[in-house]
Symmetry: C2
Subunit: 247 residues, 2 copies
């Protein structure tokens, strides 16, 4: 059974019960139509399970030691860090134009999305990622207020301007790239975590772009499938009503 | 006078009074021996000043809108996001080997360094980047305790293992790359912000690597020069004695 894993060329290693940062990678692979193994979600008997991920993290693989999931293994090369993975896969599978400006542009935007993701995460864990939400709830409510009042409109406004300046349907203009998938995921996550606050935001171009991504054939099929894990309160985006503050 | 700026090929845009994230870029340019203009630090009369940076941020330039400094302009291309800039410059000026594994590896490590930098920053601003340190000092002390007790040894231990596994003097093994400069800067910043806590850390390979970087001809000259802005309490790494907690 291990041969199933060994013969496939693309393997994703990520926590099996959450979308998390791994979802940005899943979306790239789904849009590219690349067959991949979501290793930690496979049964042990098929060579899967969380243990495979933990082994790599512990340094039982070859090559550069990854710090934290997600990581992807393609043709013997293990790549970690979400935006670096998206850059790597995007170039490999044609989800970014093959020129320096598009590559640097997509990578830079994906890293900016990662910054928003980290900030959104930190609203429920502002003091320590090792402590419980309940033990830092007061600080979390303050952090959520600051995020919703200042940062959320700033970030959305930024991406809105990028789409506007690009003059096309996508962040980089006329050509769709992996970073559009990332923006879709960011919007979906923010809507899950901050439904009321997001209702009050104005970013028509960003929201229309997110809709366009959701309607793409491969993505629509993926979102309907069981491969798409529902959002939940173990992930980055958490629906804690106390944090969905509105002004 | 504007011609000085216009004829140079590499321009760095970053806040003029702090090392901040811009320092990771300055170190790459210094090591590469590439002449560059640190635009915001130049006099207005020579086409410099913070206004030039703000203009680009406001969208008065061409191409992709950057979110936040640092950004770099090379041959008409504007690139933002520290790790994306380091990747771009590293490839352009030979500070990373020209193969997929080295490139993906260096980028991934630089992004991990960026994660530590963000966490170190958030110790003094855990609740909101828009509020004063004094107004979130209690949460900051808790955040610093958690950072020093859990995250600092984890991060240093991770980089220590990477150097060990690489089997050479540098993070990627035998060949120095831009990410070694980044690790040097991270260690320098952590030592400035958390002097006592850093004294208690054991990461001999990481600290030896940082020393090797500091002794490189171009870097040593840079560190002695006035181009190296001293650490201060407006930057990412701040020497707040209340946050230099030890176990």
């Amino acid at each position: 059974m291990d041969t199933t894993v060994e013969t496939e060329s693309v393997r994703l290693y990520y926590w099996p019960h959450i979308q998390g940062r791994g979802e940005f990678v899943r979306l790239v692979l789904e849009e590219a139509g690349v067959p991949y193994l979501d290793v930690a979600r496979l049964p042990k008997a098929a060579g899967g399970g969380v243990a495979r991920l933990v082994e790599l993290r512990r340094g039982e693989g070859k090559g550069l030691l990854p710090y934290a999931p997600p990581f992807v293994k393609v043709g013997g090369l293990l790549v970690a860090q979400t935006a670096a993975i998206c850059d790597f896969l995007g170039r490999r599978y044609g989800l970014v134009a093959d020129d320096e400006a598009a590559r640097a542009g997509a990578l830079q935007l994906q890293m900016t999305i990662a910054d928003v993701v980290a900030e959104a995460h930190d609203t429920h864990h502002p003091v320590s990622t090792s402590a419980y939400y309940e033990d830092q709830k007061d600080a979390a409510i303050e952090a959520a207020k600051a995020f919703v009042a200042h940062r959320l409109p700033q970030w959305l406004g930024y991406f809105e301007k990028v789409v506007e300046r690009g003059g096309g349907d996508w962040l980089l203009g006329a050509q769709m790239s992996y970073v559009d998938l990332g923006l879709f995921q960011l919007v979906a996550g923010l809507r899950y975590a901050f439904p009321s606050a997001m209702e009050q935001q104005s970013a028509p171009r960003v929201f229309a772009l997110a809709d366009r991504v959701a309607e793409r054939e491969q993505i629509a099929a993926y979102l309907r499938s069981e491969r798409r894990i529902p959002f939940n309160e173990d992930g980055i985006f958490r629906a804690y009503p106390d944090l969905d503050v509105t002004g």
